[in-house]
C-alpha cells in the first residue's frame, strides 16, 4: 500500500506543478497466484505481480485519460505530462467533471492466500468431477487468489483506499460418451472462502450433470413460437445485452435507446425487479467507488416492471439531463419469483430450457437471434431431451413484457444473483 500511496502522491504533485486544476490519480497493485489444469491435469502454477496507474485531467473543459503500469518516478511524470497533452488536444465539453464529495477506506475478503488449501481444493474438484461425473471432461480449470490494493484521489479532495482479497474459479467442461461430445459449457465463481468444496459453489453440480445429459442431442422440431426458460448462467449475458441496448451511456447520448422516453413507465412485467447491487453481501469484492470518484451505493433499475433510472456515468448524466447511476458496477441482482422452477416448467406446453446463448450482438432495435446451447426441450411440462442446431429469436425489450415465470430459486456466483426466467413468444427454429 505504501508504494501506491507514494505513486499517487507523486502524480498529484506533478499535476499541480504543471498547472492542472481538475485531475485524479488511481493506483492499484495486485498479486495473483493461479493454478491451471488442462484436460483434467495440472499444467501451470502462475504468479503475477501487477500494477496500474490511471490518470485523468480536465483542462479548459477538455479531458484526457492515460493509464500505464509503471510506478517509476520518471514514468509517472511522463504519464502526467502525456495526460495533460491529451486533454489539451481534446475537445471542449462542459459535461466532464469529477466527484467533489465522497471518500472512504475499505477492507474485505481474505487478503493473504492459503495456497496449500487452494491447491487441495483444486485437486479435490478435479477428483470429485472425475468420480461423480465420469462422462465430464474438464477442458480447462483456472483457480486463483487475488490480493489487491487500490487508492483513488482527485483534486477536489476525494480519496478512497481499498484493500481486498478473494478467490476465483473458472471452469470449462463438456460431456463425452461413445465418441460424441456435448457443447462445452463454462462456470465462473468468486468466493471469499475455501471452507466448502468447490463443487458446492453456485449451481455447479447441476451444470456438470446437465453436461452428461447433453451428449446425445436432436434438433428441436420445425419452427414456431414457444417459451424459453433461461438458466441463471445464461440470463446474465442476456440481461447485460439488454441493458447495453437500452440504458447505457452510449445509447442515451446518441438517442438510439428505445427506452429513452420510458422513465417511470412500465417496461417489463410487474413481476420483474432488477437491482445493481455491488454492496449486496452475496457479491464478492463489489465496487465501492466509481472511476469518477463517487461512493457506490445499490440501486433499483427496474422495480415491479417500472423503469426507475438509467445506468449513466456522471458524464452521460450531464449530457442527457438524467440522473447519474448510484454505482457503475455490473452486480446484477434479480429478485426471486414465487414459483419453484419445477412448477414453472410444469406449466410450459412447448419450449426450451437454455443454459447458454450464442448469438450476434442485438441490433439497436433489440432484435436478437442466436443458437440455444446446452439446452433441453420442454414438452408438456417435462424436460425431455437435449437439443442441438436450434435457434431462438426475439426482441430484448419485448420479451420482458412476456414473462411467464421467475423462479423462487436463485444462483449467486459472487458477481450476480439471478433466478431462472421464463419468457413466452420466442421464435424457436429447429430442423
Amino acid at each position: 500500500m505504501q508504494l501506491i500511496k507514494d505513486t499517487v502522491a507523486l502524480a498529484m504533485e506533478a499535476f499541480s506543478s504543471l498547472g492542472a486544476s481538475v485531475y485524479s490519480a488511481r493506483a492499484l497493485s495486485s498479486r495473483t497466484n493461479e493454478f491451471n489444469a488442462e484436460g483434467g491435469k495440472f499444467s501451470l502454477f502462475r504468479t503475477t505481480l501487477d500494477s496500474g496507474l490511471t490518470l485523468q485531467a480536465i483542462k479548459d473543459k477538455k479531458r484526457g485519460v492515460v493509464s500505464g503500469n509503471s510506478f517509476e518516478e520518471q514514468a509517472v511524470r511522463l504519464a502526467v505530462a502525456d495526460c495533460l497533452a491529451a486533454a489539451e488536444a481534446g475537445q471542449e465539453d462542459p459535461a466532464w467533471d469529477m466527484a467533489d464529495t465522497g471518500g472512504g477506506r475499505f477492507e474485505e475478503g481474505p487478503y493473504e492466500a492459503d495456497m496449500d488449501q487452494l491447491f487441495s481444493r483444486t485437486r479435490e474438484l478435479l477428483s470429485d468431477i472425475s468420480r461423480e461425473y465420469p462422462r465430464v471432461m474438464v477442458e480447462q480449470l483456472v483457480v486463483s487468489h487475488v490480493q489487491a490494493d487500490s487508492l483513488y484521489e482527485n483534486s477536489k479532495g476525494v480519496r478512497y483506499t481499498k484493500k481486498s482479497g478473494w478467490y476465483q474459479l473458472s471452469l470449462m467442461f463438456s460431456g463425452h460418451e461413445g465418441g460424441k461430445s456435448s457443447s462445452f459449457n463454462g462456470a465462473g465463481f468468486l468466493t471469499a472462502s475455501l471452507a466448502e468444496p468447490f463443487l458446492a459453489l453456485g449451481n455447479l453440480r447441476q451444470l456438470l450433470a446437465d453436461a452428461q445429459n447433453q451428449v446425445h442431442t436432436t434438433p428441436a422440431p420445425g419452427k414456431g413460437e414457444g417459451v424459453v426458460v433461461f438458466t441463471p448462467e445464461c440470463l446474465g449475458g442476456i440481461l447485460y445485452e439488454l441493458l447495453g441496448n437500452y440504458v447505457a451511456d452510449s445509447v442515451l447520448i446518441d438517442g438510439t435507446s428505445q427506452w429513452k422516453d420510458q422513465l417511470g413507465r412500465q417496461v417489463a412485467d410487474p413481476a420483474l425487479t432488477l437491482r445493481l447491487a455491488p454492496l449486496d453481501p452475496r457479491i464478492v469484492n463489489g465496487e465501492k467507488y466509481t472511476e469518477e470518484g463517487y461512493l457506490s451505493s445499490d440501486y433499483t433499475l427496474i422495480e415491479q416492471g417500472v423503469l426507475k433510472g438509467f445506468m449513466l456515468s456522471d458524464y452521460a448524466a450531464r449530457k442527457t439531463g438524467y440522473d447519474r447511476a448510484p454505482n457503475a458496477s455490473a452486480a446484477l441482482v434479480v429478485e426471486p419469483g414465487d414459483k419453484a422452477l419445477q412448477e414453472i416448467i410444469a406449466g410450459i406446453p412447448k419450449g426450451l430450457l437454455v443454459g447458454r446463448y450464442s448469438g450476434g450482438a442485438a441490433g439497436a432495435n433489440g432484435e436478437f437471434s442466436g443458437v440455444a446451447k446446452n439446452a433441453f426441450m420442454i414438452e408438456n411440462g417435462q424436460v425431455t431431451h437435449a437439443v442441438s442446431e436450434t435457434m431462438i429469436a426475439g426482441n430484448l425489450a419485448g420479451m420482458l413484457k412476456r414473462l411467464v415465470g421467475i423462479s423462487r430459486e436463485t444462483v449467486a456466483d459472487g458477481s450476480s444473483v439471478l433466478p431462472w426466467l421464463a419468457v413466452d413468444g420466442i421464435t424457436i427454429t429447429g430442423q
Partner: protein, 461 residues
C-alpha cells in the same frame, strides 16, 4: 525500444529445465467521437517481464510489472519455485521437451509512437465530413485505435528475438431509423498492421468508402427480416475467414483437441468439400505479407505455416512444444502470449480458406433464393464445431440478383457438416485483422478467405 533486459540473464536458466524469459511493452491509443462528442481520449502503456520454466510435465510462471534486470531475476526465481512446487505436488514425471531449432532473429524496425493529437486531428475532419454530408443519420460513432506489442524473448533452447507489431484501425458506425422508427446500424473497419500514420494518410482517402457504407445503411433502412431456416448463401470472404477461425481453427487447437474437441478423431478424414483448403499462415499468405505476421512464437519456435485442411481432408492440429510431443507433431509457432503477464497459449495467427476459381458475380447469379452475407458483428463456435455468426449486413438473392437488404440476423451450423456443402469458391480473398480472439487471454489475429457458396441455418422471423 526496450533495452536488452532478458539477454543478460541467459546464464541464469536452471540446467536441464526448458526456460523462457520475456520483456514486453504493450501500447494502445484510442479516440472515440460519438455524435461529435469526444467520449474517449485514452492512452495505455503496460510493461513488464515474465519467466516460464518447465519441469516434470508442468510449468511455473511468474511476472513483474517492471522492466528491469532485477525484476527479471525475481520473475525467473519465482517461476522456478512455482515449477518445483507443482512438480512436487503432481509427480507426473515427464521428461524434457523435444529439441527445436535454435537461433536469433535480428531486432525488427522501431516505430514512432504518435501523440494523441494525431488521432484527433485525423478523426475530426472525417466526422465533419459525415455530419455535413449526411444530416439524416440518427447517430455516428468514429473510433481511432492503435496498439502495439514489443517483445524481447530469450529461451534456453530455441530462438531468441526482439519483435515489434503495431496495428492501427478506424471503426465507423452509422445509425438510421426505419420508416416506423426502428433503429438500424452498419459499421466498417479500415486499417491493418503498421502505425496509424502509415495506414491513414488523409481523411479524404476514406470518403468514398464512407459513402458506400452510407448507401448500405439507406438500403438496410428499407430492409426486411431474413426468413428463418436452412438457406443457400454466399458468404463474403470476411465471413469465410471467421468460419476458418472460429468454427474450424479452434477445434484443431491441440489443447482443445485434448479437451475433447470434435476434430480429435477426424485427423486424415474428409471434413469438407474437396474445394476447401485452409491454413493458419505464419507471416506470408498467397504471396503477400499476412495481415498480422508472426515470425517467432513465445516459446522460441521459428514460425511456419500450419496446414489444417487440404482439399477437404483434415491434415493437422496447431500445437505448442508440449502438445507437439503429445500428438507427435512439429511445433510451428502457435504458442503466443498477449500481455507481459500472460503465459503462451496455443493461438491462431492468420487463418484463411484458400481461394478457388469461381467469379463472385457468377456465384451470385447461381443462387435462386438465398442471401449474400457480407459482414459480421461477432462470432462464436463450440468444440463440437457448432458455430454462430451475427450478421450485420446482408442482402436477399432472388433469381440470381441481389435484392433487399436484411436486418441484423444470425447464422449457425456445424462446421464440418456445413463445409461439405461448399460448392463454389471465389478467386478473391478478403482479410480482417482488427479484432481480438478471446481464449483466457486476448490475442490479435488475422482471418480471411474467398466468397463461399454453402448452406447454413439463418435465424429470423
Amino acid at each position: 525500444m526496450i533495452s536488452d533486459i532478458a539477454g543478460k540473464l541467459r546464464g541464469q536458466f536452471a540446467p536441464g529445465a526448458h526456460s523462457e524469459l520475456r520483456a514486453q511493452r504493450s501500447l494502445s491509443r484510442r479516440v472515440t467521437l460519438l455524435q461529435g462528442n469526444l467520449t474517449r481520449n485514452a492512452r495505455t502503456d503496460s510493461q513488464g517481464v515474465s519467466a516460464r520454466v518447465y519441469q516434470g510435465g508442468v510449468y511455473g510462471f511468474a511476472s513483474q510489472a517492471e522492466l528491469s534486470e532485477a525484476a527479471a531475476r525475481r520473475a525467473l526465481a519465482t517461476a522456478t519455485d512455482n515449477a518445483r512446487f507443482l512438480d512436487g505436488h503432481t509427480g507426473y514425471q515427464m521428461g524434457a521437451l523435444p529439441d527445436i531449432a535454435a537461433g536469433a532473429m535480428a531486432p525488427q524496425e522501431d516505430f514512432t509512437d504518435l501523440p494523441q493529437k494525431h488521432y484527433l486531428d485525423f478523426l475530426r475532419p472525417l466526422d465533419d465530413y459525415i455530419a455535413g454530408k449526411y444530416p439524416d443519420l440518427a447517430s455516428r460513432t468514429l473510433v481511432a485505435y492503435a496498439d502495439s506489442m514489443e517483445k524481447q524473448l530469450i529461451t534456453s533452447d530455441g530462438y531468441s528475438a526482439h519483435l515489434l507489431a503495431p496495428r492501427s484501425y478506424i471503426y465507423l458506425f452509422l445509425n438510421a431509423q426505419t420508416g416506423d422508427g426502428m433503429p438500424v446500424e452498419v459499421f466498417k473497419v479500415f486499417g491493418g498492421s503498421g502505425t496509424f500514420d502509415l495506414q491513414f494518410k488523409a481523411p479524404e482517402d476514406l470518403y468514398a468508402q464512407v459513402d458506400q457504407l452510407y448507401e448500405h445503411l439507406m438500403k438496410k433502412r428499407e430492409g426486411v427480416f431474413a426468413q428463418a431456416g436452412k438457406k443457400t448463401v454466399i458468404l463474403h470472404g470476411e465471413l469465410a475467414g471467421m468460419l476458418a477461425h472460429e468454427a474450424v481453427g479452434h477445434t484443431v487447437e491441440a489443447d482443445l483437441v485434448l479437451g475433447g474437441s470434435v476434430a480429435g478423431p477426424m485427423l486424415d478424414e474428409m471434413v469438407a468439400s474437396p474445394l476447401v483448403s485452409m491454413t493458419d499462415f505464419a507471416h506470408t499468405a498467397f504471396g503477400q505479407e499476412a495481415p498480422l505476421p508472426v515470425y517467432v512464437d513465445d516459446e522460441g519456435v521459428l514460425a511456419q505455416d500450419a496446414e489444417l485442411i487440404r482439399n477437404g481432408r483434415l491434415t493437422g492440429y496447431m500445437v505448442n512444444r508440449e502438445l507437439g510431443r503429445h500428438f507427435s507433431m512439429r511445433p510451428q509457432g502457435n504458442a503466443r502470449a498477449f500481455a507481459f503477464n500472460d503465459e503462451p497459449l496455443i493461438r491462431m495467427r492468420n487463418t484463411a480458406v484458400h481461394p478457388g476459381l469461381d467469379k463472385f458475380e457468377d456465384m451470385i447469379a447461381s443462387v435462386e433464393d438465398g442471401y449474400y452475407l457480407i459482414s459480421s458483428n461477432n462470432g462464436q463456435a463450440d468444440t463440437t464445431g457448432e458455430f454462430m455468426f451475427g450478421i450485420s449486413l446482408g442482402y436477399e438473392i432472388k433469381n440470381g440478383r441481389l435484392g433487399r437488404a436484411i436486418f441484423d440476423t444470425t447464422i449457425s451450423g456445424v462446421a464440418f457438416d456445413m463445409l461439405k456443402t461448399v460448392d463454389r469458391v471465389s478467386d478473391r480473398v478478403s482479410w480482417s485483422s482488427s479484432g481480438f480472439c478471446g481464449k483466457k487471454q486476448l490475442m490479435p489475429v488475422g482471418l480471411g478467405g474467398p466468397d463461399l457458396r454453402c448452406d447454413v441455418m439463418i435465424g429470423g422471423k
